[in-house]
C-alpha cells in the first residue's frame, strides 16, 4: 500500500512515536497498539541526538530511545519485526541519512539509506531538517527505491518556496499547524486553515500536525479541510507517564489504543461535519 492510499477512503489518523521508546520490546507493542486503535499510517521516529525541531516531550522520547540502544540498523530490524499492515514512514534528521552505511553494499549516504528502508518495508520519509533546497540527492534515491518524500509546510511558507516543495513532495504534505516545536497544546491554532488554503491545489493529501491532542482537535482540523491528522506528543506523553510510573507495557499499550480510537473517531466526525457543510 502506498502512502497516498492511507488517505484514500476516509480521513487518516497518523500517529508518531520514537522507535525504541522506552525499550525496543515495549515500543514494538506500542506501534502495534496504535494500529489496532485505527492508525492509517505510522510516523516512526529514528532518534537523532540533536532534535532541533522537537519540544521537550519528544526530546524525552528521543533520549529514552537512544538510551535503549536504538541505532539506524536496529531501527530497520525493528521495522522488519513489526506486525503491522499500515505503511511506516521514517521520521528523522538528515545527518543519520547522510552517514548511513548499507551493511551489504557498503555504500554510504541517501541512496544507501533509501535502499535499506525499502528492504525493511518502509514507504517514505519525513526529514525534519531537509528543506526542498537541499533535498536533491534524497529525492533521487527515493525515486530509485520507490519511497515517498514528505515535506513540511510551515505557517511561514509562501510563494516560491511552496512551488519548490510542490515539485518535490510525494505521499502526503505535512501541514504544520503552528510555528514552533512539537508539543501537545490545549487549543487548535487558527493558522491551520490559512496553511491548508495555501496547499489546497496540491495533488497529494494534506495531513495536519503540531499540537493536536484530543479527538475534538482532530475533528476540527478535518472539518477545516485536512485529509488527515498527525499526532505525536499527546501519544508520547502517555508513554512517558507510563514509563515514569513503572506501568506494565500491556497497560500502556491499552491506553495508547484507546487514545488512538479517540483521535480516529474525531477525524471521522470531522469528515462528516465537512460533508454536511458542503
Amino acid at each position: 500500500m502506498g502512502l497516498e492510499e492511507a488517505f484514500a477512503d476516509e480521513p487518516a489518523f497518523v500517529p508518531y512515536v520514537a522507535a525504541g521508546d522506552p525499550s525496543i520490546e515495549a515500543s514494538k507493542a506500542y506501534v502495534e497498539a496504535l494500529e489496532r486503535g485505527g492508525a492509517d499510517a505510522i510516523e516512526l521516529g529514528l532518534p537523532f541526538s540533536e532534535p532541533i525541531a522537537e519540544g521537550s516531550t519528544i526530546q524525552g522520547a528521543v533520549v529514552r530511545a537512544l538510551e535503549a540502544g536504538m541505532t539506524p540498523d536496529r531501527y530497520f530490524a525493528f521495522v522488519e519485526d513489526l506486525d503491522v499492515e499500515v505503511p511506516i514512514v521514517c521520521m528523522t534528521y538528515y545527518n543519520l541519512v547522510y552517514q548511513y552505511t548499507h551493511p551489504e553494499t557498503g555504500e554510504q549516504g541517501p541512496r544507501a539509506f533509501a535502499r535499506r528502508s525499502a528492504e525493511a518495508g518502509i514507504e517514505g520519509f519525513v526529514v525534519v531538517d531537509l528543506p526542498a533546497e537541499e533535498a536533491g540527492p534524497l529525492r533521487e534515491a527515493c525515486d530509485e527505491f520507490d519511497q515517498d518524500l514528505v515535506f513540511i509546510v510551515a505557517p511561514t511558507t509562501r510563494g516560491d518556496r511552496l512551488d519548490r516543495m510542490a515539485d518535490h513532495v510525494s505521499g502526503y504534505v505535512y501541514v504544520q499547524a503552528r510555528l514552533g516545536v512539537t508539543g501537545a497544546r490545549e487549543d487548535v491554532s487558527d493558522q491551520t486553515e490559512q496553511s491548508l488554503a495555501r496547499v489546497a491545489d496540491w495533488s497529494v493529501p494534506k495531513a495536519v500536525g503540531f499540537g493536536i491532542k484530543t479527538g475534538e482537535h482532530a475533528e476540527r482540523i478535518v472539518s477545516a479541510g485536512a485529509d488527515g491528522v498527525i499526532v505525536g506528543s499527546a501519544l508520547v506523553d502517555i508513554i512517558a507517564d507510563g514509563h515514569a510510573a513503572g506501568d506494565p507495557t500491556a497497560d500502556v499499550a491499552d491506553r495508547l489504543e484507546a487514545k488512538a480510537r479517540e483521535l480516529k473517531a474525531g477525524a471521522l466526525a470531522g469528515a462528516r461535519a465537512e460533508a454536511e457543510q458542503s
Partner: protein, 415 residues
C-alpha cells in the same frame, strides 16, 4: 548574490519554519552588509569605534619574541569592549536586526563571551535580549553570567545533554522556530545555516583588515604565520579572512585537543573538540561541516577545559579551507593550554582567555616551524576563566603555575 556553500560544506539544513526567516536574513545581509544600504556599514564601523574601542593594537610581544627567537605580535582583541572578539559580530547582528525591524534578540552562549557581547550590544541598541546557556557552562563561567544579567539580559539555562554549547544552540534554534517573525537569532560563531557563516565572518574580518595593514606598518611586510584558536571558528575566520589570498602567509587554526584525541564510541563522548583535525563530514545545526560524531551519525559530546571551544562542530568555510590545504588544522591539549595561559600572563602581562591560550600553546610547541614573523590573535581576556584556571591548575603539576598558597593562609580565601 552571496553563496550558501563553501565547496561541499555549508548549506541550509533547517526545519521549514525557519527557511523564510533565513531568506529574509539573506536578503538583509546582501543589502545592508554587502551593499551598505541606508549606510548600515558606516554606522556599524562608527559604533565599533566609539562603543567597541577599535581599532585595536597589533602589539610586539617582547618576551615571547626572545623566547622563540622570532618576531611575535599579538592582535589584541582582548581589548575590545566586553573583553573578546565577540562584540564585532554581536554588534553587527544586533544592529542588523534593528535595520530589519526585529523586536527581540536571542542568542546562545558557551563561554558566556558571546552572550555578554550580545547583551551589551542589545543594551546599547535598546533591544530586549534572551540568552540560552548550558548548565555546565553557567557553572564554569559565572562572571559572564553576572555581566549578562547586569546588562539586562534574561538567561535561560539549558539542561539537556551535557549542558554545553551544542545544547544551547539547539535550544536557541527551538526558540527561533517559535518566534521567528519578530525575533533575530544572533548566532555566536561562523556556524549555522547560510548566510550566518559568511555574515559572521564579514563582521569579524575587521580583525585581519587591521592586522594586515598593521603588519605592513610594523614589519614592512606580511607575516609568515597567523595563528588563532578555533571553536566554531569566528575569531579564526576573522583573523584569516584578509590573508586567505596571500599564499605566503601560513594560517593555523588551533583546536582544543582536550585530554585525548581518541573517542569513546560506546559512550558517545569525545574528550576533545578537535572537529577540524579529527572529525568527519556531516550535518549539524543547519550546515554541512566537519563534526565529532559516531559511525551512525549521532553527535558526540565534546570536551575542552575552555567552554568556548567545547563544541562538536566547526564553521563550514574553515572546514573547506582545511580540505583545500589553505588552513592547517592543529590542536593543543588542556595541559598545554593551561601552561600557555600562565606563561602569557607572567611573561607578557596579558591574561588570555582559556580559548586564546590554545593558540599560544601551539606557538610554544611549534614556534620553530612558523617562520620569522608570527601574528597570534588574542581572541579574549581571561578574567572569566580565573576560577576554572585555579581549579584546573591545582589538579596538575604545571611548570609555570604560580604558587597560590597565599589563598589558603587567609581565612575565606578559597581553594
Amino acid at each position: 548574490m552571496s553563496t550558501t556553500k563553501f565547496g561541499e560544506y555549508g548549506g541550509q539544513y533547517v526545519p521549514e519554519s525557519l527557511m523564510p526567516a533565513i531568506e529574509e536574513l539573506t536578503d538583509a545581509y546582501e543589502r545592508y552588509v554587502l551593499d551598505n544600504e541606508d549606510g548600515f556599514t558606516d554606522e556599524f564601523r562608527e559604533r565599533l569605534a566609539d562603543f567597541g574601542g577599535r581599532p585595536l593594537p597589533l602589539q610586539h610581544a617582547e618576551s615571547l619574541s626572545a623566547r622563540y627567537d622570532t618576531e611575535v605580535y599579538l592582535k589584541r582583541e582582548d581589548l575590545l569592549h566586553g573583553g573578546a572578539h565577540k562584540l564585532n559580530n554581536a554588534l553587527g547582528q544586533v544592529l542588523l536586526a534593528k535595520y530589519m525591524g526585529k523586536e527581540r534578540i536571542i542568542a546562545e552562549t558557551g563561554a558566556g563571551q558571546h552572550g555578554t557581547a550580545t547583551a551589551m550590544a542589545a543594551a546599547h541598541l535598546d533591544m530586549p535580549c534572551e540568552i540560552y546557556m548550558g548548565e555546565t557552562d553557567i557553572r564554569r563561567q559565572r562572571p559572564n553570567v553576572f555581566r549578562m544579567k547586569i546588562n539586562g539580559a534574561e538567561i535561560t539555562p539549558v539542561t539537556t545533554g551535557r549542558g554545553t554549547l551544542k545544547e544551547a544552540i539547539s535550544e536557541t534554534i527551538r526558540d527561533w522556530a517559535t518566534t521567528v517573525e519578530r525575533t533575530h537569532y544572533v548566532i555566536g560563531s561562523v556556524v549555522g545555516p547560510a548566510p550566518f557563516p559568511s555574515m559572521v565572518r564579514d563582521f569579524q574580518s575587521v580583525i585581519s583588515e587591521e592586522a594586515r595593514a598593521q603588519s605592513r606598518e610594523k614589519e614592512g611586510r606580511l607575516p609568515d604565520a597567523v595563528v588563532a584558536c578555533a571553536g566554531g571558528g569566528s575569531n579564526t575566520m576573522g583573523t584569516f579572512a584578509n590573508f586567505v589570498d596571500d599564499d605566503e602567509v601560513g594560517l593555523y587554526a588551533v583546536e582544543a585537543g582536550g585530554s585525548s584525541l581518541s573517542v569513546d564510541e560506546e559512550e558517545g563522548v569525545a574528550p576533545n573538540s578537535a572537529s577540524l583535525s579529527t572529525g568527519d563530514e556531516g550535518v549539524l545545526h543547519g550546515a554541512r561541516t566537519k563534526l565529532l560524531q559516531d559511525s551512525d551519525g549521532q553527535i558526540m559530546e565534546s570536551h575542552s577545559v575552555s567552554a568556548g571551544l567545547d563544541y562538536a562542530g566547526v564553521g563550514p568555510e574553515l572546514a573547506h579551507l582545511v580540505d583545500e590545504g589553505r588552513v592547517d588544522a592543529v590542536n593543543v591539549d588542556d595541559d598545554a593550554a593551561l601552561e600557555a595561559f600562565h606563561r602569557l600572563s607572567q611573561d607578557e602581562g596579558v591574561i588570555p582567555a582559556l580559548e586564546t591560550a590554545h593558540a599560544f600553546g601551539y606557538l610554544e610547541e611549534h614556534a620553530d616551524e612558523l617562520g620569522e614573523f608570527v601574528v597570534v590573535n588574542v581572541s579574549g581576556r581571561g578574567d572569566k576563566d580565573l576560577e576554572t584556571v585555579l581549579e584546573e591548575t591545582e589538579k596538575r603539576d604545571l611548570e609555570v603555575a604560580p604558587d597560590m598558597s597565599v589563598l589558603r593562609e587567609v581565612s575565606g580565601g578559597g581553594l
